[in-house]
């Protein structure tokens, strides 16, 4: 494509182009991860001071704590629930936009309508559930007024339900976009051929649409899983302090300057996250998918 094509020059040119990216990622991604890894082996005086050394004490503490298991179970519960809801809603919203909206400009307009909140503050979008879900919120008011309930429901806000609602509200977009992208690439002639050959609606879904949207589903899953597992803010605020996740416990640890325990827990979480994501990556070549 370009004048010079000998391999070493191509390597040099490639690295020159990505060098600014690398120059940011090394100090602000690689180095911090290494610092956290190092801190997990350090000892602490309990006041935020770190003593360089090598001890596995923090790992023993984290692994032997009954709390750890509870935190992971809670985190996995939130992750699975959020994943399932965002996948179902995201898949069918994308399906609707790609296959049912006949005017392409309208489809893009509706798609943008779905994406606009992504560019606004997550914190504000989460707080915005308070007037709806609160004890005196709109939903309770409506249910009381229609006589469905006599006492206001307290499980709506500051509960696990509220946490999942906030996650689904924020993260469905991460499913819609990649699934929409892979669905939009499905050749409509393929589906017409299937219809001509006598395939039912269900067959088309099962044999064409789902398999061909797999890479989008995988990408969306990576986003949703990594965000939910790395979140502490939604859990903290929407559960009213009643629930905790791995990272919210990490946040508390940092708050009381227990850096080594926090770091050990973060390293464990990172390993779990890496395992899950590599499992997903085995089903899809993400780079191929993105650059295609």
């Amino acid at each position: 494509m370009q004048p010079s094509q000998n391999p070493s020059r191509a390597n040099l040119a490639g690295w020159l182009y990505v060098s600014p990216l690398v120059l940011v990622l090394v100090p602000f991604f690689v180095a911090p991860i290494l610092v956290v890894l190092a801190a997990s082996f350090f000892a602490t005086d309990g006041f935020g001071g770190l003593t360089p050394g090598f001890t596995l004490a923090s790992y023993f503490e984290v692994l032997h704590s009954a709390l750890t298991l509870k935190l992971y179970l809670a985190t996995i519960k939130f992750t699975v629930l959020t994943w399932a809801f965002t996948l179902i809603i995201g898949f069918f919203v994308a399906y609707f936009l790609v296959f049912h909206v006949r005017n392409q400009l309208l489809a893009i307009g509706l798609f943008l309508l779905c994406t606009v909140p992504f560019w606004t503050s997550n914190i504000i979008r989460m707080i915005s559930w308070i007037p709806l879900l609160g004890k005196e919120g709109l939903i309770n008011q409506a249910l009381l007024a229609t006589g469905v309930i006599r006492q206001p429901l307290e499980v709506l806000l500051f509960s696990d339900l509220a946490v999942v609602i906030a996650y689904v509200h924020q993260l469905t977009i991460f499913m819609i976009v990649p699934i929409f992208n892979s669905m939009a690439r499905i050749d409509k002639k393929l589906i017409e051929a299937a219809i001509d050959a006598g395939a039912s609606r269900f067959d088309i879904m099962r044999l064409i649409v789902v398999p061909m949207s797999k890479s989008g589903i995988a990408l969306g899953t990576i986003f949703v899983v990594s965000i939910v597992m790395g979140d502490f803010f939604v859990v903290k605020v929407m559960s009213g302090g009643g629930s905790a996740s791995v990272v919210s416990a990490f946040y508390e640890d940092v708050g009381v300057l227990q850096y080594p325990t926090a770091a050990a827990s973060a390293v464990l979480l990172t390993l779990v996250l890496v395992a899950i994501i590599s499992l997903i990556l085995r089903t899809v070549d993400i780079r191929q998918e993105i650059t295609r």
Partner: protein, 301 residues
């Protein structure tokens, strides 16, 4: 989001009228299948759930001094907006707002330039490209709070002061750059290499072909990258928490308000920051459409 933004040229210029018949999954007998109505209802419900709560707090922020956190609405006034910027107990909203905007502008500029260059680099394979790619994905999926803590500790260990324009800037770039590069991938995959080759055939240097061919052609995509850079930085919270130093950015201010302010001031702040977001989104999308229009008319005439 990115791919669709980048898709807009084709739909607008080369396909003025989208053929309706090939879109529908059912044979084009004219009527809609029952699934259309079910999914249309689902879609409408989703959009209402997406925007409904946000509009609730915008409306509630315009209450008067008696206002509370829930409906019904008590009076109408701008009391809570004035309160927001004048009361000391709500913290330094003005200052943090100012810092957030400045930081977002710096992040946007760096994100656009670095993502564009990386996008150029990733077009061809080079030794180690997969490593750089996965480093970027890692930076994207890593828990923000953990990265922020690592950055904070690193600065501490090096004896540097954490500040919004140093450590928080870097921490935010570790979040905006992967998004920017992913958007560039989508944009680049639609770039026709023939144009670039033509430029070389006509004797253009590498820099000339970038400046005179690639940047103008890719301009709408670069605006999309800028949109990501600005909004992701402006709303970034987890990575800034341990890295912003003593002076807060706006999301950090909102976070501390959620913990100790229980008045509609909080909603007023939500309304103000969302207005800023909407202005940025509107300006970006408007610019993209304008660029496409200009290009469309030039191509035709």
């Amino acid at each position: 989001m990115s791919a669709v933004l980048a898709d807009m040229p084709e739909t607008e210029s080369s396909k003025p009228v989208a053929p309706a018949t090939t879109k529908a999954i059912a044979p084009s007998t004219g009527g809609r299948p029952w699934t259309f109505y079910v999914l249309a209802t689902l879609f409408a419900a989703y959009v209402i759930a997406l925007y409904g709560p946000m509009f609730c707090i915008y409306i509630l922020s315009f209450q008067d001094i008696r206002g509370g956190l829930v409906f019904p609405m008590k009076g109408h006034s701008l009391h809570w907006f004035v309160d927001l910027f004048t009361q000391a107990r709500t913290g330094d909203v003005k200052g943090s707002f100012d810092r957030s905007i400045k930081l977002a502008v710096i992040v946007t500029i760096i994100t656009v330039v670095v993502s564009f260059l990386a996008g150029l680099g990733f077009r061809r394979r080079f030794r180690g490209d997969t490593f750089v790619f996965y480093m970027m994905i890692g930076s994207l999926v890593a828990p923000g709070l953990v990265l922020g803590l690592g950055t904070g500790l690193l600065f501490q260990a090096l004896g540097l002061d954490a500040a919004w324009y140093t450590s928080a800037l870097g921490a935010q770039l570790s979040w905006t750059l992967p998004f920017g590069v992913l958007v560039m991938f989508a944009v680049m995959s639609r770039f026709n290499h023939v144009w670039e080759e033509a430029a070389y055939d006509l004797g253009a240097s590498r820099w000339q072909s970038i400046r005179l061919v690639m940047i103008p052609v890719l301009a709408p995509g670069l605006v999309a990258v800028a949109l990501f850079g600005f909004t992701l930085s402006y709303d970034e919270f987890a990575r800034s928490l341990q890295t912003a130093g003593s002076l807060n950015t706006l999301p950090l201010e909102i976070w501390s308000m959620t913990l100790n302010v229980t008045s509609p001031s909080l909603y007023a702040l939500g309304t103000v920051t969302t207005i800023v977001s909407f202005i940025v989104i509107g300006a970006s999308l408007g610019t993209i459409v304008l660029l496409q229009k200009k290009r469309g008319s030039r191509a035709k005439g």
